[in-house]
């Protein structure tokens, strides 16, 4: 099979006919609607621009949502934290609220790309790109976040567990809808979270494996845990078998080690020439599930024996 022309001949420029900058969410949704799905939302642009340059993405109209009002908040709402659709990774990583009440997310946001990327790339964009190892998506999945999606027809709320549909595919229609906010429960005093990442270099990296854990302690026991992994499936992956395994068990190294073993039965990383083999990443799932649980429990005030 001959290699595609676009893989051998690269462009410096984009080819987009229109660039629209709506002043309100309503206007933005109308713009999208009026183009019948042929327009595309651009926020920070760090995913969209390279895809346009490499001609992977073929759209003629961009709708820039980065100036919509009231999208850049990071706020506590009762027991919840609500993050606006325009919040960047840099803002989330630096937020005391997130650092304190969702540290896994702060850590993940602090590892995305580079400082330059984090300064523009939004958490909403990270979710909408639908990549299995995205550094904001995986912790948000462990935090049981839900997202609000707006379209010309109205709003809907979708839990992240139903949001990711396939590689690069989500429940959001990028030609018609806008992700306006992200909501999840702040960590309680007996809860902790952790985010671990394995890569070949320490910045601007391509993750081999990422793991986010939210754990609830009950004295020396694990009341419950949420474990999210990537890339071990086409989408950010909730490791339910290991979660069920640890629930109600004592927080011992043996439990956590067995949780790691359990996890390898359900997740299925593919062989990747650039990220690593299935066998290796399966081994790493064991280590990361154990380490992730250990760190999250420690944050919850529970030392693993």
């Amino acid at each position: 099979m001959a290699l595609a022309f676009e893989k051998l001949h690269w462009h410096s420029k984009l080819e987009v006919a229109e660039y629209l900058v709506p002043a309100s969410l309503t206007e933005a949704l109308d713009m999208l609607a009026s183009h019948g799905g042929k327009a595309r939302v651009i926020a920070g642009g760090t995913d969209v621009i390279p895809e346009l340059r490499s001609r992977k993405l073929d759209v003629s109209v961009l709708v820039d949502v980065s100036r919509l009002p009231d999208m850049d908040g990071i706020e506590a709402d009762g027991d919840d934290i609500v993050i606006g659709g325009g919040v960047t990774h840099a803002a989330a990583a630096a937020s005391p609220l997130i650092q304190d009440k969702a540290s896994a997310l702060a850590t993940g946001c602090g590892w995305v790309g580079s400082p330059q990327i984090r300064n523009v790339a939004t958490l909403a964009g990270n979710l909408v790109s639908g990549q299995p190892a995205a550094d904001a998506s995986v912790p948000l999945l462990a935090l049981d976040a839900e997202v609000t999606i707006a379209s010309a027809k109205g709003e809907r709320v979708v839990p992240l567990s139903e949001f990711f549909l396939g590689l690069g595919q989500t429940a959001l229609d990028p030609g018609r809808e806008i992700l306006t906010s992200i909501r999840f429960q702040a960590l309680a005093d007996n809860q902790g979270s952790a985010y671990l990442r394995l890569a070949k270099r320490k910045a601007l990296n391509l993750p081999i494996l990422v793991c986010a854990v939210k754990a609830t302690a009950d004295g020396g026991n694990i009341a419950s845990a949420a474990i999210a992994l990537g890339p071990v499936a086409p989408v950010p992956f909730r490791e339910r078998a290991a979660e069920e395994f640890v629930a109600g068990k004592p927080a011992t190294m043996e439990t956590l080690t067995q949780a790691g073993e359990t996890a390898t039965a359900t997740c299925n990383p593919r062989d990747s020439l650039l990220r690593g083999s299935c066998d290796y990443r399966t081994e790493m799932v064991k280590v990361f599930v154990r380490r992730g649980l250990t760190a999250a429990l420690a944050q919850a005030g529970c030392t693993v024996k």
């Binding site: 290699l3 001949h9 462009h11 080819e15 070949k200 270099r201 320490k202 601007l204 650039l274 690593g276």
Partner: protein, 798 residues
């Protein structure tokens, strides 16, 4: 430290030829005022303000955009090609295929085996099958897409060992073995019989991308008088000219090549500019208009030269006390689709021969046999990259030294101490090292600074959970200061003006290494003026003397000497004039700090400028020309015996790492790199070469690899091709030692490539020392380290 090393240079054993050259040069003992100091880089003010112009920064107003249609097949016959639709597209000025070419359809730094435009077949994914020049980039792209090519795919070769099979498809008419070289010293069988321990190991390294930050760009600008002007970032303007002229079918003097400051080269811009210049030139000739070709990052990776991958099989014998008795090696050196800088230029030029010569390492070994095969495959091609064959073989021999030491139960430093070259040692080619051999001094100083013994004793688990282990590693290295061909001459010109200012003409190029700073420094030193009194004329083949390429760590030494000789011709005019003005014999005169003075009575002095004015008025020679050729290299074509390179730079690196034995992740904690550089002409610039070279070696060790599947590059962008970031590189502490090179300017040796070479094996050795994980196939990414630890039965259990 420096006093000690000076002492050791007293006992050289120079050959007669070396003696004669050293006498001609006689700079080694000169007290220095300007050379040897860390003056700032001349072009720094332009760099920190963003005013320095790179190739892409020159306006392309009025230029046509040149584009290359690349083959999607690794190996295929071209059955037909139809360019009609492309030609008819508005805004297209030319569409060229092989049959449109006016001259030689081939280019190459050594052998012109790469078609400017492929006619009958393609040999790698990225081979050029047609060229387009159009008014805009977009139109050029559309035109490329409209070209219809019918291919008949052929079976490809993607492993160099497959290329040697008798029934292997022939990539080039002459067969797939481009070079088959041998080096034989003593009797390896007898050597193995003497050995107490014999180890056999295979080491493997991948294609590497230079990843210079500036993507390639070239401009071809037809001049009214018929001359073709080529401008672009490049390391080898003369090699470029030598290729463009026959491709255009014109004499060499009808091509003018001007170098533009490079945004990094590392050997890669020795031959990629030949490719782009030939292609831009034929488009410019066909259209009569200026043409600019700029590659996108991904295209740089796909199309241009790489570091050669090698498979290296070693068998080495050693006595119980660590003395090496025999070394046997086989190199399968993968050339890829085209010859580039791989093949031999007799006697010892080309990266392949260099790899062979360097393969046994900087050690005295009485019995050596190396078979080295350079093999065509249907991959991208190997060219020059910072070390020219040496980094690969160092990765093999330096790992083998550690593996032997471990087998013997002695330390990695002990085994090196036992065998390292010293003054008078005989290399594997039978060359007696006659002078400037500071290898052992680098080991000693490096171990001192690094505190090797203490750190070695302190290696072990970092945490109570036994997930992380600390370890240390060492590697040594050697590198030449010339290119091993008979044509390694280097010319310079010095023009003195009546106000004392000087123009320096040199063809050595600037890519960030600091040549444009160091060369005027040498000129000023010789004339007794200040560096700012010397303006360097940028490389332009119409203006500067043939200087050879800016490669092989040869610039400071070879060009430095040429400049000294050129400067002396005008200095003679100055001294004659000053002698008459001061009524002091010339032998008593000296020049420094813009004064010419009587050594016996320093108050008796004249301003340099005043003497220059008088010399000019008296019709004295104001133009100096220097030509330096290093000692004639030799290397027997059958036995690989001789003196291929006249002097070597030496180095020892030590590094401390922490390995996460559960994941294979590595953290570098500390790094010391010691070098015998002969003489540091500009210590700060030299430190920069060291720190940058080590960082590049770190990338080779841990993360860099051009991943190819059936000839297709899987990671053409910098998202997939990983180079070290600021968070990956530790603080690198350079140690500079000066063991005088009698044949270098003020004792200097080359340093551009050396730092890159031992860095990689030092890190790999430290990983193995820490974790038992010995990674013999690079890069040692976390996965490879993880499996290597598993293969070794786990980390050390103490």
């Amino acid at each position: 430290m420096q006093d000690k090393t000076q002492e050791k240079t007293k006992t050289q054993v120079l050959t007669r030829e070396e003696n004669e050259l050293a006498r001609r040069l006689r700079t080694a003992d000169k007290p220095l005022t300007v050379a040897g100091t860390s003056i700032g880089r001349r072009d720094d003010p332009l760099k920190v303000t963003g005013k320095l112009k790179y190739g892409a920064d020159y306006s392309a107003e009025g230029f046509l955009f040149g584009k290359i249609l690349r083959s999607p097949h690794a190996h295929a016959l071209i059955k037909s090609i139809n360019v009609k639709k492309a030609q008819e597209l508005e805004g297209v000025a030319a569409v060229l295929t092989a049959e449109d070419l006016p001259g030689r359809n081939g280019f190459g730094a050594i052998i012109p085996d790469q078609p400017v435009i492929c006619g009958d077949k393609v040999r790698f994914v990225g081979d050029g099958v047609a060229l387009v020049a159009a008014e805009t980039e977009t139109i050029a792209h559309q035109a490329l897409k409209l070209i219809e090519v019918e291919y008949e795919p052929l079976p490809g070769i993607f492993d160099p060992r497959d290329a040697m099979a008798e029934d292997a498809p022939k990539i080039h008419e002459g067969g797939n073995i481009l070079s088959d070289d041998k080096m034989v010293k003593g009797d390896v069988d007898a050597g193995f019989a003497e050995a107490d321990v014999i180890l056999e190991r295979t080491y493997q390294v991948p294609f590497l991308e230079h990843a210079y930050l500036e993507p390639d760009t070239t401009m071809a600008i037809p001049q009214p008088d018929g001359v073709m002007l080529i401008e672009g970032p490049m390391q080898a303007p003369f090699t470029t000219r030598r290729n463009v002229a026959p491709v255009l079918g014109v004499p060499i003097n009808q091509v003018r090549v001007r170098q533009i400051h490079m945004g990094g080269g590392f050997g890669g811009k020795e031959d990629s500019p030949i490719d782009l210049s030939c292609r831009a030139a034929v488009l410019a000739q066909a259209t009569g208009r200026p043409v600019k070709i700029t590659l996108e990052r991904e295209e740089v990776t796909i199309q241009t030269a790489k570091r050669h991958p090698m498979i290296m099989e070693l068998k080495v014998g050693v006595k119980k006390d660590g003395t090496l008795t025999a070394f046997q090696g086989v190199i399968y050196d993968e050339q890829g689709a085209y010859a580039s800088l791989g093949p031999k230029i007799p006697p010892a030029g080309g990266s392949h021969v260099h790899a062979m010569v360097m393969m046994p390492g900087p050690y005295e070994i009485p019995n050596v046999k190396v078979d080295a095969y350079l093999l065509y495959t249907n991959h991208p091609y190997g060219g020059a990259m910072r070390g020219f064959g040496a980094p690969q073989v160092h990765i093999a021999h330096e790992q083998m030294m550690d593996e032997l030491a471990a087998e013997l139960g002695i330390t990695a430093v002990d085994i090196r101490e036992k065998n390292a070259f010293r003054l008078g040692s005989q290399t594997a080619t039978g060359q007696v090292l006659s002078q400037s051999v500071g290898l052992r001094e680098t080991l000693e100083s490096c171990a001192d600074r690094f505190k090797w013994d203490e750190r070695l004793a302190a290696t072990g688990w970092v945490d109570q959970a036994h997930t992380k282990r600390r370890g240390v590693g060492v590697a040594m290295g050697w590198y030449r200061t010339s290119i091993g061909t008979n044509g390694d001459g280097c010319g310079a010109a010095v023009h003195l003006h009546e106000d004392g200012s000087v123009l320096l003409y040199s063809g050595i190029t600037e890519m960030g290494q600091g040549a444009f700073t160091v060369l005027p420094q040498i000129c000023a030193e010789e004339l007794g003026i200040m560096p700012e009194d010397v303006r360097l004329v940028k490389p332009d083949t119409d203006l500067v003397p043939e200087s050879g390429p800016t490669v092989g760590s040869r610039s400071t030494t070879l060009m430095g000497n040429a400049i000294i000789l050129a400067a002396r011709q005008v200095k003679e005019s100055l001294m004659d004039t000053a002698s008459m003005m001061l009524m002091v014999p010339t032998e008593r005169l000296d020049a420094k700090g813009r004064k010419i003075y009587d050594r016996e009575n320093p108050d008796k002095s004249l301003d340099f400028a005043a003497v220059a004015a008088r010399a000019m008025a008296a019709g004295k020679r104001m133009i100096g020309q220097g030509w330096w050729t290093p000692p004639v290299p030799s290397l027997d074509g059958h036995t690989g015996q001789g003196s291929p390179y006249h002097v070597y730079t030496y180095s020892t690196h030590m590094v401390q790492v922490v390995v996460d034995v559960e994941t294979g992740e590595v953290e570098l904690e500390d790094y010391v790199a010691a070098f015998d550089v002969g003489k540091a002409i500009n210590p700060k610039a030299l430190e920069g070469q060291i720190e940058g070279g080590v960082a590049m070696g770190l990338g080779y060790a841990l993360m860099e690899e051009v991943v190819l599947v059936e000839g297709v590059t899987q990671n053409p962008s910098l998202q997939g091709y990983l180079v070290p970031t600021m968070l990956d590189v530790p603080d690198i502490q350079p140690v500079i030692l000066e063991v005088t090179n009698e044949l270098g300017p003020y004792g200097a040796k080359g340093i551009g490539e050396m730092p890159n070479i031992p860095a990689t094996p030092a890190i790999i050795n430290a990983i193995a020392q820490a974790s038992n994980g010995r990674v013999r196939r690079l890069p040692a990414d976390p996965e490879r380290i993880f499996w290597a630890i598993k293969e070794a039965g786990g980390p050390p259990q103490d």
